[in-house]
């Protein structure tokens, strides 16, 4: 479904990605784990078109999206939940959710989907008319996910969904990721919490300083001695 072929991305004169090859198949949850600064977020931002690669090719659903503008990539069905919950702070919760469905023309189905996505996060429906910026960190993350789901993505890119959240929120959010995946959305997940990420994913990639150093099934990575030592903390 998604295929990265020797993608290189630069920030100024520094290579953030030094040739990434990565595949995500339909129906999978794939995770990219790695330390801070390894290039995980840059990989997602390059896929979603926020950052432009200088070399390589990205294919989504058989279409070359390497140089497509970010909004057209969303139109193709590839949606990112950005790191740090970039919600719209001065728009209401409901307006935030509606913006997720911006490209959709089927008004009636959109209404039903608002109910559907908020069924994952009942807290949000209690706060529809509150401004997004007044939500707690965990609620903002829920809102960012709910908003992304409103566009009915084929592939959901998630950047550090557990970042800065209390443990009870983290498990809730990972439950939702599993549920969303069971209902047919493919997920590419970037996480620092490697244990949790590998527990929901079917496959994983390990990144170090702009390169992929390891690729395997999630359970094999969990049992890999070097991964254990470096990222799982036991």
């Amino acid at each position: 479904m998604l295929k990265l072929d020797s993608i290189q991305t630069k920030y100024g004169s520094i290579y953030a990605l030094k040739g990434i090859d990565l595949v995500v198949n339909q129906g999978e949850i794939v995770t990219i784990i790695g330390a801070n600064g390894a290039g995980k977020s840059t990989t997602l931002n390059t896929i979603s078109g926020i950052v432009q690669s200088i070399y390589g090719r990205i294919e989504f659903d058989g279409v070359d999206i390497t140089h497509m503008p970010a909004d057209k990539i969303v139109e193709a069905g590839l949606v990112q939940v950005p790191e740090g919950r970039e919600i719209f702070p001065q728009l209401t919760v409901l307006e935030n959710i509606k913006l997720g469905a911006y490209l959709r023309k089927d008004k009636h189905a959109v209404k039903q989907d608002i109910e559907y996505v908020t069924s994952f996060f009942p807290r949000l429906s209690e706060r529809f008319n509150q401004l997004g910026g007044t939500l707690s960190g965990g609620e903002q993350q829920m809102l960012a996910i709910a908003r992304a789901l409103m566009s009915k993505p084929k592939l959901l890119l998630m950047d550090e969904p557990s970042l800065g959240l209390a443990p009870k929120f983290v498990y809730g959010i990972f439950d939702v990721i599993k549920k969303v995946n069971e209902q047919g959305t493919t997920v590419l997940l970037v996480e620092q919490n490697a244990t949790l990420a590998l527990s929901v994913a079917s496959r994983g990639y390990v990144m170090e300083t702009g390169k992929i150093v390891l690729e395997d099934k999630a359970e094999n990575l969990m049992n890999n001695e070097s991964v254990k030592a470096a990222y799982l903390g036991f």
Partner: protein
């Protein structure tokens, strides 16, 4: 003391139309424009010259003024789409000066007589009355309210909040900004056409950056992004110089003092409840 309420109402109405236009691009979409005097001027000259040179009826001249200002506003916004904040402000300010200089150097033929626009263009037909202004103000307010509540308006507000996140929603930022600039400029042009017909004589210097700043002050005082704020801020700042005529040159001091007090105690404006990062 004699207060010309009728005149204040007419001036306020015309200014409200212009400030509503500015509010769309600056208050709603978050793009600071210091160039709106240019679009007001384009509207003023378009309608005045159409009426004086070709005897076009006033209604048609008004529409033409709005369309012309909207078209130029939309085209002008294309090369500056990437600019934000102070850079955008300076680019729009520059545009304002360019337009003023173009007017200053233009020559037109009216009734067989060649006339330079650098001198005052006088005897513009007067067609302004309070009912007309009230109708146009109501139309503008209703138009802006429905625009803001539409999906397009929601997208503009999301651009103000966060451009990258908006793009991640699939919003075509460039297209939305151009549209917002065009509509915003069209209202400025409409206001300019009304202003010209009201004062019946205009010159290029009337459309310098002082006017841009003047309408921006009305918007900031009322509260960016708030239509009620636009109305209140415009009426207050339009009235102060008129009400304080007896104070002669001291009245502009009062004007400044009001602005300073406002910014210290209510930086979001009288009715503004959002923070606009322009």
């Amino acid at each position: 003391m004699y207060i010309d309420v009728y005149n204040i109402l007419i001036l306020s109405g015309i200014n409200i139309i212009m400030v509503l236009g500015l509010n769309l691009i600056t208050g709603v979409t978050g793009q600071l424009s210091l160039g709106h005097a240019a679009f007001i001027g384009i509207g003023a000259y378009t309608s005045s010259l159409l009426m004086m040179m070709f005897n076009v009826p006033f209604g048609v001249a008004l529409i033409a003024a709005a369309l012309m200002a909207g078209l130029i506003g939309g085209l002008f916004s294309i090369p500056i789409l990437r600019l934000r904040g102070d850079y955008l402000a300076i680019a729009t300010l520059g545009f304002c000066e360019v337009v003023r200089v173009i007017f200053t150097n233009m020559k037109v033929t009216i009734n067989g007589e060649v006339q330079r626009l650098s001198v005052s263009l006088a005897n513009i037909p007067q067609h302004i009355n309070l009912p007309l202004i009230l109708i146009l103000v109501c139309f503008s307010i209703l138009f802006m309210i429905s625009l803001e509540r539409s999906k397009f308006g929601l997208a503009l507000r999301s651009i103000r909040e966060d451009e990258v996140a908006s793009q991640m929603m699939g919003i075509d930022i460039a297209r939305h900004k151009v549209m917002a600039f065009a509509i915003s400029s069209a209202f400025a042009g409409l206001g300019g056409a009304l202003m010209a017909s009201n004062i019946t004589a205009i010159q290029p210097i009337d459309f310098g950056f002082k006017l841009s700043i003047g309408i921006l002050c009305m918007l900031v005082l009322g509260g960016m992004g708030s239509i009620v704020g636009v109305i209140a801020g415009t009426i207050i700042l339009t009235s102060i110089p008129e009400l304080l005529r007896f104070a002669a040159e001291y009245r502009m001091i009062m004007y400044g003092v009001v602005l300073i007090i406002m910014m210290v105690f209510r930086p979001r404006g009288l009715f503004g409840n959002i923070r606009v990062n322009v």
